[in-house]
Amino acid sequence: MIPLNTDEGFSGPVITSEVPTLDWWLLAPFLVVFGAGVLAVLFEAFVPAARRRGLQVAVAFLALLAAFLLFVLQAGTLPEEGATLVAGVLAVDRVVLFFQGTIAVLALISLVLITERRDGRDAFAAQAATVPGSEQERAHIMAGSQHTEVYPLVLFAVLGMFMFPAANDFLTMFIALEVMSLPLYLLCGLARRRRLFSQEAAVKYFLLGAFSSAFFLFGIALVYGYAGSVNFAEVRAAVENGGAPIFDGGDGDPLMLMGIGLVAIGLLFKVGAVPFHNWKPDVYQGAPTPITALMASCTLVAAFGALLRVFFVPFGGSLELWEPMLWTIAVLTMVVAAIVAITQRDVKRLLAYSSVVHAGFILTAVVAASTDGLAGAMFYLAAYGFTTLGAFAILTLVRTRDGGQELGDIERWSGLGRRHPGLAGALSLFLLAFTGIPLTSGFIGKFAVFEAAVAAGATPLVVVGVLSSAVTAFFYIRIIVVMFFRDPEEEGPTVVPAGMLTGGVITVGVAATLTLGVFPGPVLDTLLPSDEAGPEPAAVMVDEASLERTSP
């Protein structure tokens, strides 16, 4: 809270008094990515077109790699209870670092897919400004034009993702959300092929995203009205005290409830929970596949990081208020998405619905509202991120026979497993991981979130979850059936050679899926919070109040 006058005895940073001290070390990853993004924009302006691409790729990779290394180093030096920075607008603790590190790795892998070129052409439109099918477009294609703006856009989006789970007040979170989303809206519209689809995806994503941001923002306003501050620790304190001083005797409860609800809508939209999921299949299908991969992995991790933080820190004290709501949403998400997915024919749409169902599973861990649940969700997100990246990487390889666009229609994948056993085998592994078959990371993740939910007494939710799993199994398995059990068709797809980059992504996906499935111990034990710190997730999530509690 930033008081107008200090007479009322409020402590904390005052806007006029002193410049807040900045912890440059903790801030470094944000600055590196931000700086790289700015630099990249400058390159667009000043570096000749021919040399831009190499430079952009190098900068993007280096920035993300540096950020990742910084996160790793920070994890070693960060005090146990975490820290807040920039006058408390950002918070960094081990949970946040895990999310950020995961996002960094997944973004690096996505970047590999984004960089991948086939016959000198990447996945993005030669010149987005041209009308599809026009002479100018053809000219640009022939000239080999390309949108190297993709790289700064990705960098900015990733910056937003880094900030999203680290936000320590609602304003920062809103800004992070926009920083993350705005570049993504643009990236969605840049597909090289099927540009009408791509543009439509961008419009839909943008309008619905803005619509949900408005809800999110109005929710923030109401929470602010209730608590008198948007700082997480103070919101939490206000919730525990029954609202800001201007509310006596709980008058503000409706405000608070509406605030929670509207904020939740904004976040649930980003994670794609039913009924805020409609954008996902359309956007996933329309966007360039590398961008879909980025969204399916990194965005989901960031959005859930934020969602977990919001529900566990500022709203952590009002568990009983929002639990029924999340129960309902979780059930809807798991059931509706699983059922709708059954009749999908397009693999990208299918993976979109799959992503929605997985969001539902992770929501059960949120409902558990325990450290175990938090850890479960974290593991799930990381595991899912690697697996889904691998799956999308494979999608980029399966093309129509004329060598053109990606072929998403499952029915035409007949016999893929006969002719490309390695590729189909890898995809099968990913699908089995999505199904939650043991010895894949998906199983451990599912176990972790369900275990937390059962321990928290949300067994019915878990029962719904496993039944939904069974339904989802049907369509994952169907893909395997088509690939392995059907004979190849004449009009089947061609598979372009994976090459070093995409092949590498698939390999990493396979390795991560298996390693996290067979030996999840190290990740679970060392990287994730354990409930020895306390059963409440707040025990491992930093905010100022917790810092004050721990400082002598």
Binding site: R418, F443, E451, V462, V466, A470, V481, P488, G521
Partner: protein
Amino acid sequence: MIPWLTIAIALPAIGAVAVRALSRARTPAADTAQMRRSEAATGGGTDTITQVRPARGTAAGAENAKRVAFGFSLATLAVVVAMALRFDTGASGMQFEQTHDWIPRFGVHYAVGVDGIALVLILLSAVLVPLVMLAAWREHEDREDGGAGYFALILVLQAMMVGVFAATDVFLFYVFFEAMLIPVYFMIGRYGRGEQRARAAVKFLLYSLVGGLIMLVAVIGVYVAGGTFLWTELTGSGGALAGIDTELAVWLFLGFFIAFAIKAPMWPVHTWLPDAAQASRPGTAVLLVGVLDKVGTYGMLRYCLELFPSAVSAFVWPVVALSVVSIVYGAILAIGQSDMMRLVAYTSVSHFGFITLGIFALTEQAQAGAALYMVNHGFATGALFLVVGFLISRRGSAEIADYGGVQRVAPLLAGAFLVAGLAGLGLPGLAPFVSEFLVLIGVYAFSPVAAVIAVLGVVLAALYILWMFQRTMTGPTPERLSGLKDLNVREKWAVGPLLALLIVFGLYPQPMLDAIGPAVERTAQIGTADTSAADGATTEEGGRE
């Protein structure tokens, strides 16, 4: 101390990798031939795939790979037999135990160990695998990989079969229980028979998955309630689950039971089995029905009963009723089948009814009989499937109507068929009789009505087996079958050991019963003496939950 069980799990797993590697290592010439072939296949529609013979290089590679696979399966058998010889039949509880932390966060261990029941089931799987390989040797020769992939899958499955019986950590058990589905899924869907095989494979997998997922909730429940996954820590009067609320125990029991009932398969969740069996290669069916489905009944005995003794009394009557229905229903439907694979599958539904009946009769004889039944049924049904498979490999059909008078042209085949069939119908002197008889006398002490209805299954068994035998093997030999070949050496070696085992264990089953005995003594008390004790504990610690 030698980690017998770990070796028995690792050996086939390593074998699978080796086989896969060998079948991949092709000469470049073979490789191009391969590519040309697949091009041809895509050009010429579906049928060309099965008609084009693989290139010589591939065939030789596949042959080598298969030999290696067979060698690994024999090595595993040797290890398991060596272990069995060291098994102390006097001791109750687990032997050859190993416990290592696996996922400390969830208290998950790599913990293995066997009691008598698990031991004989592991033996069963170790015996069946090499025989199945022998029987399937020529089955997939016209495939791209010459069948090596199939053999690799068998080895993967074997590793998991040993694992699932040896696991003494509930989580580890679950891992094997679910992971096992995948190789079988491919064995049916990819290497199966007929147009419906993909459908059957999906049906199998979905049924099993639904069961498995429901069980997952219960597995989690066990951990939440007991705080550990170690079977040895969970069970017993002083175990971690001893004090749980009866209602909770009932729910957890149910969660496990549904999965096991589907796996077993018990009426009315059995319909996947006939479809799966019909679409399976006989070798797959042997492992599926002979071993895999035993995981269901084994699980009931090991997990349902021993983990939740206080819940047993609530389930005894429903399960006994379902078992009896399974026995009669499976037998009657078997009579009406026209496909031999389906027929044998339905007989298994009936036989599994006997096993579950024996388990839930909660008497020592019945449970010992049920445990023994699991093994004997594996041998008997395994032999039956193999012989049907020999017929299929000759005429490409499992339809009863396509055969007749086979005995005249292939007396050995018919003889093997008859012995396997007679074992299936519980003829004294052959192994299944002993188990069936023990189940019946044990069940009678528990419920005369159930026992008497179950006996009907014995009569019906004679009908379905002998009628099938009559229609396929006897009567005049039709012209089209006059060239039918009798068993060759490989086939004799595939089915011969099973028939020998059926006779040996029919006349001298005591060694197996000695091994099973101590374990059964433990489980048979459940629901009788133990229930009251557990109930007492419940009231004591009632406030815990």
